[in-house]
């Protein structure tokens, strides 16, 4: 078999047994791998009412047909029902772990059950083995990775949880290859609920390539294209993702103090330009990635990776904090403890507003940088106010009677682009299958950055079609599996060609778009069964009722209702957001 390794293992931690899961050629072609195949397999194994932290829930680690092949292919996806949102969720991470899983001879690993005591799994030559992890339980993600590598081999790639996953914080991350994170949606809590501390993968099984000559040509072509592109060949390398700080702030949509303002006066001091001048030691790259957007940084006392744009915002402008060192060290803490930086920071912003309004008696104040690291640590261990912060913003705000102060969609916190400044991004947040996430349809690309074309950010015209299209392309990229940043340089036809040379299958652009649509609709079906409908495809009331008074997004509100019906029509869903029978028939669902 070309591209795929042809082996997916299901491992039951309760009975410590494993079996191979048969996946037919037709299913592979319909869902590719990664997110798509993961969601397909998950939907067949688990009901939409399953408790995400129950023993019986499945947690699926998936690679795709392109994993371990051409550039940016070291990534992997983790799929399950999210304990944060209750929706279907896939969480993506870079590094080498995806390529290592394929090197170990498998396309994916389905984990069910709960181990009687802490374990880690090792994968080698297509076999999965469980090992005692009692010695690693309680350790942070860095010590865990080093400790397991000492046992399993220094070339082994390790994905693990930290204390936050062990205490089942519902936004705990899975960390791999030092500081790469499957951050969003609380997949780390599911590992914790299974007493699964880590997975170690390694090996040198090659991925079979259908067209070796075409592969070489494609590799050389990608090198040229990515190198020549000003975003992938220069900006991301030199300035990382935080180059966005000044750009988004200049557009008056850099969420400040829990989305109450769109301009952060101290943005310059937390920008990618400032990081490059001060904390940056060197850039870092994932497997076969010439871009190297990662930032290896050093503060006076510590070193680590980050901060990325979303994290700079979450611990910076969102909290009124301009101390770049404090922001960076809070990022390091999240990496070590295994927490999603976006939900952590956003929850703190919600807590600060709750505190300011008097709804919550705890004293958390805007701009209080000195306590940031303690708040993060306390959240991971669920101690003191950390036990409350571990609820995430939706549950915290509801508990104190002000649900509208949680800046979330379907329970997932919205990241660093205020939707009042970009109508397409607003629709993207509202209709995202995993909640308030920017990665389903990154409408910031056309609405702010001008990629691949420039669109008027305040117009709603045509946005429904484009959001659906972007969602479908993203589903393909997450299922192939590749890095989204490649999309700044190439489009769908390049992905089609990459899949062709690797798998030998005669994919067309149209077929890939149908695959993307199939995946998105399957996810929607799961969410519908879990009780999500039109009423959940919305945003917090602040975005409909409160205008900014300053900045270039002032006096603007989200006009979701102008787009939502069109979006459902484009998708072939009814007015309640349920896929129509003819849509299901077209997609073979």
């Amino acid at each position: 078999m070309n591209g795929w390794m042809g082996r997916i293992v299901k491992f039951d931690l309760g009975s410590m047994t494993q079996e191979t899961v048969a996946v037919g050629d037709a299913i592979r072609r319909q869902y590719l791998g990664g997110r798509g195949l993961g969601v397909k397999l998950y939907s067949e194994l688990c009901s939409s009412s399953i408790d995400p932290l129950a023993d019986d829930n499945a947690l699926i680690f998936m690679t795709g047909p392109l994993t371990g092949t051409l550039m940016t292919s070291g990534r992997y996806q983790v799929i399950s029902r999210s304990p944060l949102t209750g929706t279907i969720c896939d969480s993506s991470s870079g590094g080498n772990f995806g390529a290592a899983l394929k090197g170990a001879g498998i396309d994916g690993l389905i984990i069910r059950g709960r181990a009687a005591k802490p374990v880690y799994l090792s994968v080698h030559d297509g076999q999965v083995e469980a090992h005692d992890a009692s010695a690693f339980w309680g350790l942070d993600t860095q010590r865990t990775q080093k400790g397991i590598q000492a046992e399993a081999g220094s070339k082994t790639s390790v994905a693990c949880i930290g204390p936050a996953g062990e205490t089942r914080v519902i936004f705990a991350a899975i960390m791999n290859d030092k500081d790469r994170a499957a951050g969003r949606g609380g997949m780390g809590a599911i590992m914790g609920s299974k007493n699964l501390k880590a997975i170690a993968a390694g090996g040198s099984q090659p991925v079979a390539i259908a067209d070796p000559e075409g592969y070489k040509t494609m590799a050389a072509r990608l090198d040229r294209i990515v190198d020549k592109n000003p975003v992938t060949g220069k900006s991301l390398q030199v300035l990382g993702t935080s180059v966005l700080v000044n750009i988004i702030n200049a557009h008056g949509m850099f969420p400040t103090e829990n989305f109450r303002r769109g301009v952060f006066n101290d943005a310059e001091g937390t920008s990618g330009e400032k990081i490059a001048e001060t904390l940056l030691q060197r850039q870092s790259s994932c497997y076969k990635c010439p871009i190297g957007c990662g930032r290896t940084t050093r503060t006076r006392d510590k070193n680590g990776e980050g901060p990325e744009y979303e994290t700079v915002w979450a611990f910076g402008a969102h909290l009124g904090i301009s101390d770049l060192t404090a922001i960076t060290e809070a990022n390091y803490a999240c990496n070590e403890l295994g927490l999603d930086t976006i939900t952590m920071g956003s929850t703190l912003g919600c807590a600060m507003e709750l505190s300011e309004t008097g709804a919550w008696k705890e004293s958390l104040r805007w701009g209080e940088a000195g306590k940031l690291r303690d708040w993060v640590t306390d959240t991971a261990y669920r101690r003191g106010i950390g036990a409350e912060l571990a609820l995430g913003s939706k549950r915290l705000a509801a508990k104190y009677g002000r649900p509208e102060l949680a800046m979330q969609v379907k329970g997932m916190e919205i990241p660093a682009y205020d939707p009042r400044g970009a109508q397409g991004m607003a629709l993207s947040y509202a209709t995202s299958n995993r909640g308030g996430c920017h990665m389903r349809a990154y409408m910031i690309a056309p609405e702010i950055l001008g990629h691949p074309v420039f669109l008027d950010r305040f117009s709603t015209a045509g946005k429904a079609e484009l959001v659906a299209l972007f969602q479908d392309v993203s589903s393909v990229v997450d299922s192939a599996v590749l890095c989204r940043f490649l999309q700044f340089a190439v489009g769908i036809s390049t992905f089609t060609e990459m899949l062709r040379v690797v798998t030998g299958l005669d994919f067309s652009d149209e077929e890939l778009m149908t695959i993307g649509r199939r995946i998105y609709t399957l996810e929607r079906l799961f969410n519908n069964r879990a009780g999500f409908g039109r009423g959940d495809d919305t945003l917090p009331p602040r975005f409909f009722n409160e205008e900014f008074q300053t900045g270039s997004s002032r006096h603007r509100l989200v006009r979701l209702e102008e787009m939502l019906d069109d979006y459902y029509a484009v998708r072939g869903w009814d007015a309640d957001g349920q896929p129509l029978p003819r849509t299901l028939a077209e997609l073979g669902l």
Partner: protein
């Protein structure tokens, strides 16, 4: 960008001579080692302003913003008082004394 108010003032004979603020972001800032300069002028097109900015800084930077045909690169963002010139007259958009022009070379992230 020409405001009606300013045009009216000029038609009444007021002298609006002053400075246009030009701010550099991203790769240009690292190259030029400066965050902002001021250019004297009024009613200049962006294209003219960029040429004057190169003269004043003594370094070329237009390759970060424009293609070889002197058109905007895909992804270049130029804001005049927060408004993208692509929604106006592009490089022919006129700026006035007192305006603030922000220059961003193509960037991405997420």
């Amino acid at each position: 960008m020409a405001s009606r108010c300013r045009e009216r003032w000029r038609s009444w004979g007021f002298n609006l001579a002053g400075k246009i603020a030009v701010k550099f972001y991203g790769l240009m800032r690292l190259r030029l080692r400066t965050a902002a300069i001021e250019i004297s002028g009024d009613g200049l097109t962006i294209m003219t302003l960029l040429g004057l900015a190169e003269e004043k800084t003594g370094q070329s930077f237009l390759d970060e913003l424009l293609d070889k045909d002197k058109g905007l690169l895909t992804g270049t963002i130029i804001l005049v008082n927060g408004e993208n010139i692509r929604l106006g007259q592009g490089l022919q958009t006129r700026v006035e004394a007192g305006d603030s022009v922000a220059l961003f070379s193509p960037a991405g992230g997420g």
